[in-house]
């Protein structure tokens, strides 16, 4: 009965969406703002990767909101999980075999390096703060799976997270003080396609990378340790 009802509902939605999809043909030329970003993006923000210039430059406020969403989720997860710390059993974890252990120890710094590379070069190549942060967090996931005796220092990750968030907001406020607009790109844009270019974009992306990385790692840490 429920299934039939749901299928009926989904069919109605599907019909509506199919009708409205006719207005959006596949593979059409770009829209007005997309055109503007591609034609003027390099000039206006100094970033060669246009996606980065949209994420951090034109729509930087979204990104601020987004790291806040992740921050709220991390804190909320800690609040939900953390409340039964006292009666949770101390779980005996079976140690991984030597090969896995050594492999993880070996791979961990390499993955960290890749993640850092990705978010430092966010304005030049595909990639950026979120991707780099996620890769760093997956390094910590690997560490938990392979070497169960290693743990993240909670205060350290909190501090990194705080520095990331504060840097973003501080850069924005300096922009407000200098250029009358929040997140104004007040640094010289430099030569496009150089590492030191695009003004505040690399700084903000590094801050995002640190924050996203420490938050996702914190989520994994909380789930493994405290639940």
């Amino acid at each position: 009965m429920r299934k039939l009802f749901v299928i009926l509902l989904l069919l109605i939605i599907a019909g509506g969406i199919t009708l409205s999809l006719k207005e959006i043909p596949f593979g059409i030329p770009k829209t007005k703002i997309g055109d503007h970003f591609i034609n003027k993006g390099v000039e206006e923000t100094g970033s060669v990767n246009i996606v980065t210039s949209v994420v951090v430059g034109y729509r930087g406020f979204d990104t601020l909101g987004e790291i806040t969403v992740l921050f709220a989720a991390t804190i909320g997860l800690g609040a939900v999980i953390g409340t039964f710390r006292k009666n949770s059993v101390n779980r005996e974890v079976e140690a991984a075999s030597l090969i896995v252990y050594t492999g993880c120890r070996f791979l961990f710094p390499v993955i960290l390096l890749v993640g850092t590379y990705i978010f430092i070069h966010g304005h030049l190549t595909p990639g950026g703060g979120f991707q780099g942060g996620a890769i760093i967090a997956s390094a910590f996931l690997l560490m938990y799976l392979g070497c169960s005796n290693k743990r993240i220092k909670e205060n350290l990750s909190k501090t990194v997270e705080m520095i990331g968030g504060l840097t973003f907001i501080a850069v924005g406020i300096i922009g407000l003080a200098i250029g009358q607009d929040f997140l104004f790109n007040f640094l010289p844009k430099g030569e496009p396609a150089e590492l030191l270019s695009a003004g505040i974009i690399p700084i903000v992306y590094i801050a995002i990378g640190l924050k996203v990385g420490s938050e996702l790692a914190g989520i994994i840490d909380n789930l493994i340790q405290k639940s």
């Binding site: 959006i24 997309g34 503007h36 034109y58 729509r59 909101g65 909320g76 409340t83 009358q180 104004f184």
Partner: protein
């Protein structure tokens, strides 16, 4: 020159540094929301006179709309900002002594993020940015509902999260459909491109938006989560959720319907939905024995009334709806705060356990009574002018449908009166059964101050409704004059 972006950024920055203050001393943490919201209150009050003359537009990053994100601080945005900052500020004082659980730090961060998200939703002029701030609001309220971590609160948080997440998915889908057709995300730009809602390709996103925001605003039939969530959260959070979160959901919905789509043809439907929501909320509230569930159902009813008034779509109707919104924010926050402290003392949420509270806790009980009378709509409290305006606005339309609907609204008010008087009767006119706890207990100052200030607002605005009607009239004209909004953002 005060920049409206500070209203969002400063609380966010403070929320990020709460752990840092936690390293210094655990006792400072609870003052952070207090400081941040006090700052917001001052800034938004300073912006008020300027906004009434002309809406303030701010673009982020020096990119003009529609290329960058812009904030639009019109009368309605600043009205909401002041309300959020005021109620949030008072509730943060209340939380000084009320929140004693272990993870205080997390409570304060999430509380601050909830209000920041709400501020962002009402100020932004970009549809995707609105979605992002809406998610901040939702995620922090999911986690705050689960804050106690007991059986019921986790269960209601799960229900809330599933329905809320589905709603967000629908909103995102609507944004995708709109972007695909018009290639822009700025609300004014989109509104300029949308001529009528009668073609299917625009009607589908409209329905998706109404459904998505309707979940947060708890419009029937999407309100199943609300009574559970509002009753099992800590009382300070219930006050904010009932007083601010659902109103912000309603704001988003109204903004989308009026400004973005200019959909006048769907308003009759929304009006009927509002009356159904009102009746269902009040009838369910009537059957409750648990005081917080009763208040939560009453919130559903009030949201229905607001939706009805706003969808009359005359200047008078929208003014009435916004007045009702202000009165509900103040009144319901007061009721939850007062009830929360009485629950804390009596240890039970059952209405019968409140018998004789009028003698034991005279101030709190008096405040509860005033709040209840105000919500029911008795003069001289703030609820009376609001309901009067709505009834007048509906009668002014001189249509048969409105007259019938007004009859239902009056019926709902009678039901509302009945169950609130039952509580008041329990407070004052019933003898307490166990005679051991008869001594008077004065609540701590941090609990009494917010309750007194809210009571003061309710009485003062109830006697001089002129204090806020000017602001509400200009807010109503901002909502109704879609062309002006478009022109002011996209010259």
């Amino acid at each position: 020159m005060v920049n409206p972006v500070l209203l969002i950024v400063i609380p966010l920055g403070l929320a990020f540094v709460v752990p840092f203050f936690g390293f210094i001393s655990k006792k400072i943490e609870k003052f952070i929301p207090f400081v941040a919201l006090f700052f917001n209150l001052i800034v938004s009050l300073r912006l008020f006179p300027r906004v009434l003359e002309q809406p303030v537009h701010v673009s982020i990053g020096g990119f003009v709309p529609p290329f960058g994100i812009n904030l639009v601080a019109g009368p309605i945005g600043i009205l909401f900002t002041v309300l959020i900052a005021l109620v949030g500020f008072l509730v943060s004082i209340y939380a000084f002594d009320y929140i004693k659980e272990k993870d205080q730090e997390k409570y304060h961060i999430l509380y601050l993020l909830l209000l920041t998200g709400a501020t962002g939703v009402v100020l932004t002029g970009d549809i995707f940015n609105l979605f992002v701030f809406f998610e901040i609001l939702c995620i922090s309220s999911y986690s705050l509902v689960a804050y106690f971590g007991d059986k019921t609160s986790i269960e209601s948080a799960v229900k809330y999260l599933i329905q809320g997440a589905l709603g967000s998915c629908l909103i995102l889908m609507g944004i995708g459909l709109l972007y695909g057709q018009f290639g822009t995300l700025n609300m004014a730009d989109l509104a300029g491109n949308i001529k009528s809602v009668h073609s299917v390709s625009i009607f589908v996103p409209l329905v998706l938006f109404i459904t998505g925001f309707g979940v947060e605003a708890a419009i029937f039939p999407l309100n199943a989560w609300l009574p559970d969530a509002h009753s099992s959260a800590p009382s300070s959070i219930s006050a904010v959720l009932s007083g601010i979160a659902i109103e912000v959901g309603l704001y988003a919905m109204i903004r989308v319907v009026f400004t973005l789509f200019g959909a006048s043809s769907i308003l009759t439907f929304l009006m009927l939905l509002g009356v159904i929501t009102l009746l269902i909320g009040e009838l369910c509230a009537f059957c409750q024995e648990n005081i917080k569930r009763m208040l939560a159902y009453s919130s559903i009813g009030q949201i229905g009334l607001m939706l009805f008034a706003l969808s009359i779509a005359s200047s008078y109707g929208i003014t009435g709806g916004l007045f009702q919104l202000v009165s509900h924010t103040l009144g319901k926050s007061l009721l939850f705060l007062a009830a929360g402290y009485m629950i804390y003392r009596s240890g039970s949420m059952n209405i019968s356990s409140f018998e004789g509270m009028g003698k034991r806790m005279p101030y709190t009980a008096l405040a509860f009574t005033i709040g209840a009378f105000s919500i029911v709509g008795l003069p001289p409290f703030i609820g009376f002018p609001g309901k009067l305006m709505i009834v007048k606005a509906a009668l002014f339309e001189q249509e048969m449908l409105y007259t019938v609907l007004i009859f239902f609204i009056l019926l709902a008010t009678v039901i509302e009166g009945a169950y609130y008087f039952r509580v008041v009767q329990a407070l004052y006119f019933k003898e307490e059964k166990n005679t051991q706890n008869q001594k008077r207990e004065i609540a701590p100052l941090s609990i009494l101050i917010p309750i007194f200030i809210l009571t003061g607002f309710i009485v003062v605005i109830g006697i001089y409704p002129k204090l806020i009607t000017d602001v509400l009239v200009s807010s109503a004209s901002e909502l109704l004059n879609r062309a002006d909004y478009i022109k002011s953002v996209m010259p």
